[in-house]
């Protein structure tokens, strides 16, 4: 485990409603500095909504609750201001940019753009800089290549906290090792990682994990224990139906 020195991210009682539906129902979450912290949950449990809300994306302004990053409350800050405070996000399906080269794209998030660091970032996601620096971040990249470029850009940025939303989706199984290596490298270089996934295999990368269900964090602790609870309870659970029938969360 990377060195931990207090809490970097503290989320308290976060609520968010979209289109008349309460998606986050009082999220409480603490992420230790220097750690890789996984948030594990089924599709529709509120994982990505939590990521967008933490990043301050448009349409994701919380109804209530607070988000504190490194001692600074960022709940009402815009995306840019949050990024300047050291927070960033890798989207599950990254955007594409016509005419923007990989080299330029990676440099955009860097305080002091440095070609050596850009090359290192590409190598960290197993992309050959000689091949990819001049490629465009557009439709010409495959889904897997685009995803790797996104992770490289996050790595190059050296943020305090990087939220990685389903970093393994769209990437072949062999690449999972590359991603794990990258995430640990990020943590070792001082970037705390909030890893969001529905795949329990990914949680093995983490130092700590939280289980999210129906917009609430139900449990936080050792990744193996959280994983067991997830595979044992969540996967066979038809929770949405159960909730609709009035069955309590304690069922988990």
């Amino acid at each position: 485990m990377a060195e931990q020195n207090g809490i970097l991210l503290e989320v308290q009682d976060l609520h968010l409603t979209r289109e008349d539906r309460e998606i986050l129902r009082g999220v409480d979450l603490q992420v230790a500095r220097g750690s890789v912290h996984a948030v594990l949950g089924l599709n529709g449990s509120g994982k990505s909504t939590l990521a967008y809300t933490l990043m301050g994306c448009g349409g994701y302004t919380p109804d209530a609750g607070t988000i504190v990053l490194d001692g600074v409350e960022i709940t009402r800050l815009g995306i840019t201001e949050r990024a300047k405070q050291g927070l960033t996000l890798a989207w599950q399906e990254p955007a594409r940019f016509e005419g923007l080269t990989v080299a330029r794209y990676l440099s955009l998030g860097m305080k002091w753009p440095d070609m050596a660091r850009i090359r290192q970032a590409l190598e960290a996601v197993a992309l050959n800089p000689a091949t990819y620096l001049g490629r465009y971040v557009d439709e010409s990249l495959s889904g897997g290549e685009r995803k790797r470029v996104e992770l490289a850009s996050i790595y190059a940025m050296q943020a305090k906290l990087a939220i990685l939303d389903e970093p393994d989706s769209g990437i072949d199984a062999l690449s999972l090792d590359d991603i794990a290596r990258l995430i640990h490298q990020m943590a070792e270089e001082g970037t705390t990682v909030l890893l969001i996934s529905h795949r329990d295999e990914v949680v093995a990368i983490a130092d700590a994990a939280s289980l999210i269900c129906e917009g609430r964090i139900l449990d936080t602790g050792d990744p193996a224990r959280i994983c067991n609870r997830y595979t044992g309870c969540c996967r066979p659970c038809e929770h949405t139906e159960l909730v609709e029938e009035g069955v309590a969360y304690e069922r988990l």
């Binding site: 995306i79 927070l87 996000l89 990254p94 955007a95 594409r96 940019f97 923007l100 955009l108 850009s153």
Partner: protein, 328 residues
């Protein structure tokens, strides 16, 4: 140095230093490298107002330039089968604040030849300048022509630019053109290219422009795929903000068996700017196929937020996206 090159050198030396140096400086501001215009190894043509300041021909290139009262008439021919190590560099400019420049060009690309042109049109001091380009281009069988034109209009918006061309692509010929007006103000631009493509021929037209304040941009791209297996794409990338306006008319006709065409238009609108896109697809042969896509609107939310999540403010993020789209 050959006699003709010595004559050219002497002619350049004889020009008032201000004319030649001024156009070189303007050329550089539009993104060109003045060394190319000075090199005897690179074919080039330099025109300021209605003056021909320099012509450098290489074997395989025939170029004649005739001064008109308000411009220059150019006849340029590429010998059949000719190939060149470097692009041919063209520089057109008007240095004074006011003036008209009419450029009449007649390009003849011989069968099987391959040639690339890099043209820079620069009007750095323009307050009231009209630049009219009327082109007639013939691409012979199996020949390939690439033409990239970049404009710099200064910051006053006092330029009216009217590039028009009639292009004929013979069987198996290829024509690629890219027009870029994204440095400085546009002023008023009306771009109008019509291309007729024969069997197995190819035409790709790209127009890119960035308009602001009260700039006006009109792009008309027409590709007629007249021979079997002819292919064509009319592409435009336009960004407007403030009170600028843009209208894009991309037309592709499939008039022969197995012709394939596509119209691809993206316009980004900010502020009180207005953009119109009219993609027209027409098919007169039931074995031809022409498709189109047009997107007009503001910058995509995810693209914007991705860059903002890297620490860019909204304005800078939009600029990165627009500049990328315009190929800068």
């Amino acid at each position: 140095m050959s006699a003709s090159k010595a004559a050219l050198h002497a002619a350049r030396q004889a020009q008032p230093a201000s004319d030649f140096e001024a156009i070189l400086r303007a050329y550089e501001r539009s993104g060109g490298n003045p060394d190319f215009l000075k090199s005897s190894k690179i074919a080039s043509l330099i025109i300021s107002g209605n003056k021909v300041l320099g012509v450098n021909r290489l074997p395989g290139i025939s170029a004649e330039a005739e001064a008109l009262p308000d411009g220059v008439k150019i006849a340029l021919a590429i010998a059949p089968g000719a190939r060149f190590e470097n692009p041919i560099h063209l520089c057109f400019g008007v240095i004074p604040a006011e003036g008209v420049q009419r450029i009449l060009v007649d390009f003849e690309i011989g069968a099987g030849a391959e040639v690339e042109f890099m043209a820079h049109c620069t009007f750095p001091n323009a307050m009231k300048v009209q630049h009219i380009m009327e082109g007639k281009i013939h691409i012979g069988p199996g020949a390939t022509m690439r033409y990239k034109e970049t404009h710099y209009h200064g910051e006053s918006g006092g330029v009216e630019v009217l590039p028009r061309a009639q292009v004929t692509v013979d069987e198996g010929g290829k024509y690629f053109t890219e027009f870029n007006l994204s440095k400085g103000r546009v002023g008023r631009m009306e771009f109008d290219y019509v291309v007729d493509v024969s069997a197995h021929g190819l035409a790709e037209l790209t127009a890119k422009a960035l308009g602001y304040e009260d700039d006006e941009i009109v792009v008309r791209e027409t590709i007629r795929l007249n021979g079997e297996y002819a292919r064509g794409m009319a592409k435009s990338r336009i960004a407007v903000r403030d009170r600028a306006r843009s209208e894009v008319y991309g037309t592709t006709e499939g008039n022969a068996p197995f012709a394939r065409g596509h119209v691809d238009c993206i316009e980004i609108v900010r502020g009180r700017a207005i953009a119109n896109a009219v993609p027209v697809v027409k098919v007169t042969d039931d074995r031809a196929m022409v498709t189109h896509e047009a997107a007009i609107g503001t910058v995509g939310k995810k693209e914007l937020e991705t860059l903002m999540a890297r620490g860019l403010d909204e304005e800078a993020a939009v600029d990165v996206i627009v500049r990328g789209m315009l190929g800068e």
